[in-house]
Amino acid sequence: MLLTSSLVDASRLQFALTAMYHWLFVPLTLGLGVLIAIFETKYYLSKDEFWKKTTQFWSRIFAINFACGVATGIILEFEFGTNWSNYSWFVGDIFGAPLAIEGIFAFFMETTFFAVMYFGWNRVSKGFHLASTWLTAIGANLSAFWILTANGWMQDPRGVAFNPMTARNEMTDFWDIVFSPTTISKFGHSVFSGFLVAAVVVIAICCWYLLKKRDREFSLKSIKYASVFGLFAIAMLMVTGHTSAQTVSKTQPMKLAAMEGLYRGQNGTPFVAFGILNSKKEVDNDEDPFLFKIEVPKVLSFLAFSDFNSFVPGINDIIDGGYTYKDKNGEEKLALPFNEKVRKGEIAKRALAVYGQFKDKPAGAQKDTVLMQAQSYLDENFDYFGYSFLKSPKESVPNVPVTFYSFHIMVMLGGYFILFLLIAFWLNRKKIIEKKRWFLFIAIISVPLVYICAEAGWVVAEVGRQPWTIQDLLPVNASVSGVSSGNVYTTFIIFVVLFTTLLIAELMILFRQIGKGPDGIKWN
């Protein structure tokens, strides 16, 4: 049953809000944990109390963020069961396994060692404390890994077989799922975005102290480490951004085309460095997609396939099919047109319906033959199952403006942060940073910018893959449950209130602690 679009929209809005709020808390935890571990290692090696104080101050900032963010992700899991029940059932244990590992192992590890890190000063040995700090940082990043494994599978489903008896995907190859190139790129890119967020937040807080002419040594030394850490993060973001684009080009070519507003591809496709989209452009008209654009020749081909002359299909090419491409297993294939994908999807759907009708019939030769035939039709066409729910080619295209602008905001801010971190490092090295008040202000303004950049990344990944909850297998309109949209809006409002209160609480506690400064912290 396909449900009304208002329910689908309400459920999507609710999920998007929860995920975006959740991602406000996560990246700082990922990056700051590692920076703190580096500061504490410095303390362990130098035995200099200054580094202990530095570690303790940043640990407190970490603790505030951690306390506000912890458990906000659980709500996403509730939403799966209530609002996305078809989807939850259909993904089977693919989701359950990584999330269970996350819950039991990584999260447990993170919180246990976090307790030692927070309460253990003067209670455990220095070495044990240092190990706990590192394990907290590693645990947080491992948590992210398992969650991104589940997300990566939705973008690039593999290592499973669909069982028509249970209507669930069953895992056939755990390692194929865990080490899928999509998951690895996603993990790297998300974690390094967290490192960048932490570096910028640390620099900004220190720049505020410098503006106020206080805590000078603490600030200069923190900036030194944070700027190097940030430069490392941004370099890795470029590398993993490139590998992400490569996996997207293989597994989600429509997302890549939407990211670039590309309707017709060519060999040696240029990269639109800056562009203003034409709002009149639709999939089925001849309007120019852009009102204005600045292009860099051949760079999109390179970004997508590491080859300046490769063909990158545009939105209309993907709908029309007929071009050759290498699939995710490296096999050369001819792209099918949209209508052919729908036809195959419908065969798979009919086969599932027949299977469903016959599976409970009494055993007999007729039942065996029908089930065998249905199974073989399913095996042959299941890769396109999701297309059976789409009514027109337009429905297979994500929101181009949202995907395009989010991608360009992310990349442009990426460029900005290279510059920002190089200047921070250089001014600090020359010991003139505190005299450059303009830079101290820019550093503070950069905090919202780095969060916008990280959120924009998720918008690219998640809006860009629409209409799919599971790429090619299940679209959003077939994934939702039969709950009322009013119900979904009620919980939506509760979330807005809950999360906004949390955010305000976090900021208030955070600002108070920052105001006290590193010397105002008393540890037991």
Partner: protein, 50 residues
């Protein structure tokens, strides 16, 4: 430890809202009304093949 106290209060309130209010009153698993996995599977197959 005054920050510690604020954080604990925050965590406890949050967990109460999430588990005792949201989970119990708003987020009932949709397939929870079916007793067996077989019934759940039939329901989903019916939804997906209509």
């Amino acid at each position: 430890m005054e920050v510690g106290r604020s954080l604990w209060i925050l965590i406890i309130i949050k967990l109460i809202v999430i588990f005792l209010i949201l989970r119990l009153f708003f987020f009932k698993p949709e397939l929870g009304k079916y007793k067996t996995d077989r019934d759940k599977a039939d329901h989903v197959i019916e939804n997906l093949t209509k």
